[in-house]
């Protein structure tokens, strides 16, 4: 490995250059080393001195002073080594075993991605990045071929090393401090483990060499900031945090976007005052996210697009044509607007969920001159849930600073009621013969609610046991007493589900009724979440009612009445969506007693098939809103034993289905008909089926076809709704009738597999 040491010098031969070169000779084996002195308009004895040294010392003579960068470049161009060490003339190697300094500089290059080493890697304020200081730096020669020589724009000097070091890192090279341990700063000295002394700025502070160094340094700092420091360039004197895709995110900014990530509903997101778009770092992986960030500043939007892609546009919030979004984010924006308080309420009209922050009780001037509103608190923003971000980034229900150093974190969701007194609620559990399986779990989950119901009624349609005599129930009843939840067991007449529910409507004296099956377990905040959605006009609210055995996601599920025969309900699946209006509800939900005057359909059989669909859809038809709030979660175990629908007589189900069909006609609902294809078999069978797909599309139209497949990628470009086999099983139960091999077997099939698929589906 050949090394070229390049020393630019400008006068100071006797007091700087000679001691420097003496120390090189003393502590370096020069066999594979050349030393190039690039004399930069020297008027002293530099030329004679260097020429007197002989090999391996070489002189590059520049008659005039051409500046540090040019002089150094001239030395680099003359160098023949594989590695080049740039050394200032005001350094002296300190006492060491020979070549220690070269070994220290060289060792990191065993890693081929290292481009520069040096004794000090320190921060550049103007550039906002760390860099190797070139008073002593070893550089791989290939690096100059890739990114060029030192930039001569820096003239006399100062900043060229920062610039080169950053360019090397951008090109993918590492810059390494040797030794790696941090140097310690002692007054104006940096004391480290590298055996070198650097006087520092010996030439530039010599008025005989350089005049106006302060101005030069300032000008060069400006160049660096323009090139590399987007916070300096775009931050507009602390008005905004300008953070790029690789930059560290400060704690408060990190906290508020992490909080946003957890609280966002839906996928269509608008961020107002998005600055450099770094919030998108926290939101980009939301499935199917449709994000738009707006900011008034063209520069910061250009930067955002460069960093995070085409998700941003320049816009003035007061002139912006909003439209509708699932979530709007407005972090530290409202205080910049004279109408910020009104804007907070206005934004609610354009979204399902609004997430906003403002500095809490900020003293005027604390955060610069840009704020129009000061001393903001929760009183200025009615109709929000609030909490606080402390200075270090922690979220707290209460503030600990009242001077603008805390952030007020605000969340609003449509269909949530803020600051209303809790309505009265009766929990109702119709039950039959599940006394010793799931019923105790259901009761226990009622007791453990974060918001307790006022009363629990058990409607016993089964054996009518006196549960007070049963130990487990005596414990449960004692606990209900202790929790101040009244309770009552009512024996019903054995007429089944619809009659039991109707009985509960007649008996309940509360404003709301919470119906729960006897094989359900409501998670602790279920009632709290459901009640959070009961604004005026809402008749019923249901949450997720999930069978833990089943798939957790469905792209098909629907609570529209015309999709009822899909047999797949949104409440059965996890969802990130906001509370929304639906046509009907399933199983467990709360409903307003006042909205139940139409009553349950008592013409249904005792199994009460589709009783809740009829009950809630008729409620909707009477003008009440029916809501699905996915935040509320109840587990439904579908206990195969017992239960109020416990009847094996298929004719009861058929009777109820017929009743329901008549209701659909009465309501004027035309159910959507889907052509369901289920390919629960091998890839070859999928391919064979795909041959008939054009004919299937011609017959049924793409939008009416549902493909349940094992290999979705085979149909990815067809524009047809595909679902998993697990989803198909939820919809159809037994899939045997969709097995093409059984179909062929039953028919003693003699022609092709493709023809069999035609026979099945066309």
């Amino acid at each position: 490995m050949k090394i070229s040491i390049v020393i630019p010098t400008y006068n100071h031969c006797d007091d700087l250059l000679k001691p420097c070169i003496d120390s090189i000779i003393k502590y370096t084996d020069l066999e594979n080393v050349e030393v190039i002195v690039s004399a930069n308009g020297c008027k002293d004895n530099t030329k004679e001195y260097v020429e007197s040294l002989g090999e391996p010392f070489k002189l590059v003579w520049n008659k005039e002073a051409i500046g540090f960068s040019r002089a150094t470049n001239a030395g680099i161009e003359a160098a023949t080594g594989d590695y080049i060490i740039l050394l200032n003339n005001d350094v002296i190697l300190l006492d060491q075993v020979q070549d220690t300094w070269l070994k220290m500089l060289s060792e990191p290059f065993e890693d081929s991605t290292v481009g520069i080493t040096g004794p000090i890697k320190g921060p550049s304020g103007p550039a906002g990045r760390d860099f190797i200081i070139f008073f002593c730096a070893m550089i791989k020669k290939e690096l100059f071929d890739k990114i060029g020589l030192l930039d001569t724009i820096f003239g006399v000097g100062g900043g060229e090393d920062t610039d080169f070091s950053i360019k090397a890192e951008i090109a993918g090279y590492k810059t390494v401090q040797v030794p790696a341990e941090k140097t310690t700063v002692d007054s104006s000295f940096i004391v480290g483990g590298f055996p070198i002394y650097h006087k520092g700025e010996a030439t530039v502070l010599d008025p005989n060499c350089v005049t106006g160094w302060g101005k030069i340094f300032k000008k060069n700092s400006h160049i660096l900031a323009e090139r590399y420091n987007h916070q300096w360039k775009l931050g507009n004197y602390c008005e905004r945090a300008v953070i790029g895709k690789l930059d560290h995110v400060p704690p408060r900014e990190h906290t508020r976007y992490s909080w946003a990530r957890q609280n966002i509903v839906g996928t269509k997101i608008l961020e107002i005052g998005c600055s450099s778009g770094y919030g998108f770092r926290y939101l980009h992986d939301i499935p199917n996210v449709d994000y738009l960030g707006i900011d008034k500043d063209q520069g910061v939007i250009d930067f955002a697009i460069e960093q995070f892609g085409d998700h941003f546009q320049v816009a003035d919030i007061n002139k912006f044509d909003f439209g509708q979004y699932d979530t709007i984010i407005a972090f530290e924006v409202l205080e910049h607007l004279p109408n910020g308080k009104e804007m907070a309420q206005e934004l609610k009209k354009h979204c399902q969920c609004l997430l906003a922050t403002v500095p809490y009780k900020e003293i005027k001037g604390l955060w610069g001159q840009h704020h129009c509103l000061h001393n903001l608190s929760e009183r200025d923003f009615p109709g929000f849930e609030v909490c606080f971000v402390k200075e270090g980034g922690a979220i707290s229900p209460t503030p600990d600073r009242f001077d603008g150093m805390n952030l007020l974190l605000m969340k609003w969701e449509k269909y949530k009621v803020y600051n209303e007194p809790k309505p009265t609620v009766t929990a109702v559990i119709p039950t039959k013969n599940r006394y010793f399986t799931t019923l105790p779990l259901a009761i226990s989950s009622v007791i453990n609610q974060t918001v307790k119901p006022d009363k629990l009624i058990l409607i016993d349609d089964g054996e009518k046991i006196d549960l007070r005599e049963v130990p487990i129930y005596s414990y449960l009843f004692q606990t209900l007493d202790r929790e101040n939840i009244k309770w009552e067991v009512v024996f019903s007449n054995g007429k089944g589900v619809a009659h039991s529910h109707q009985l509960s409507v007649n008996k309940c004296e509360t404003e709301w009724i919470w119906r729960l099956d006897d094989d359900c377990v409501a998670t602790p905040n279920t009632l709290e979440k459901l009640l959070s959605s009961i604004y005026k006009g809402v008749g019923a609210v249901g949450g997720r009612v999930i069978d833990p055995k089943n798939a957790s996601f469905s792209s098909l599920a629907s609570n529209k009445i015309e999709d009822i025969y899909l047999g797949i309900n949104e409440q059965w699946f996890d969802s990130r969506k906001a509370t929304k209006e639906v046509d009907h509800l399933y199983s467990s939900f709360i409903y307003r007693k006042e909205a139940a005057v139409h009553g349950y359909c008592l013409e249904l059989s005792s199994v009460g098939h589709r009783e809740e669909t009829i009950f809630t859809y008729e409620m909707k038809r009477k003008g009440w809103s029916i809501l699905f709030n996915p935040d509320a979660l109840t587990y439904h175990f579908r206990n195969p034993e017992g239960g109020i629908r416990e009847k094996t007589d298929a004719t009861l189900w058929e009777h109820d289905e017929l009743m329901f069909t008549k209701k659909m006609v009465e309501w004027g609902v035309k159910p959507k008909e889907y052509k369901m294809v289920i390919l629960d078999n091998g890839l070859g069978d999928h391919c064979a089926f795909k041959r008939i797909l054009p004919d299937l599309i011609a017959k049924y139209k793409k939008e009416n076809i549902i493909l349940a497949v094992c290999y979705q990628e085979l149909f990815a470009e067809e524009g047809i709704k595909t679902i998993s086999i697990a989803e198909a099983q939820m919809m159809k139960g037994d899939l045997t009738e969709y097995n093409v091999y059984k179909w062929m077997w039953d028919r003693d099939w003699k022609t092709s597999l493709e023809e069999a698929f035609r026979g099945m589906y066309l």
Binding site: G682, L683, G684, D685, H686, C687, A688, K690, R691, Y711, E713, L714, Y741, K742, M744, W745, W749, K750, T751, S752, L753
Partner: protein, 151 residues
Amino acid sequence: MNIIISPYSRQLRNGNNNPKNYPYWQKLIKLLKACNHTIIQIGCKDEVVFEDVDEVKFNLSLKDLAVLLQECDTWIGVDNFFQHFASLYNKPGIVIFGKSNPDIFGYKTNTNILKDKANLRNKPFDIWEAEEFNKNVFPYAEEVLQIFKTR
């Protein structure tokens, strides 16, 4: 010619050799190589790679498999998914059948080689786990080569 070979049908749940797997691939590959053909073996990882194949492409995505299919001149396989896949791209090839019926599971656009109809299963739609492997139901490599040359 560039020839794709798709030598294996899916692994059976009981671990037995799938009765649809052709037993004379190694010989057939040597014969094809002697005719200066380039052989590309496709399949799944952990399947046995035959000697003398020029390239092995396992676990390709369907997209990559389609590209490969379009780039090759023809293909030879057993009664497995690949004949169905190739039919989607109208690329004819040779399928070596043993006990399964080409009238049901094959395509007329391909050259379907069946040694003897008498070997066909009585219950053509039963699971393959219920079937024994029998190499005698397949044609020899020389016969397959002869058909390959004359098609």
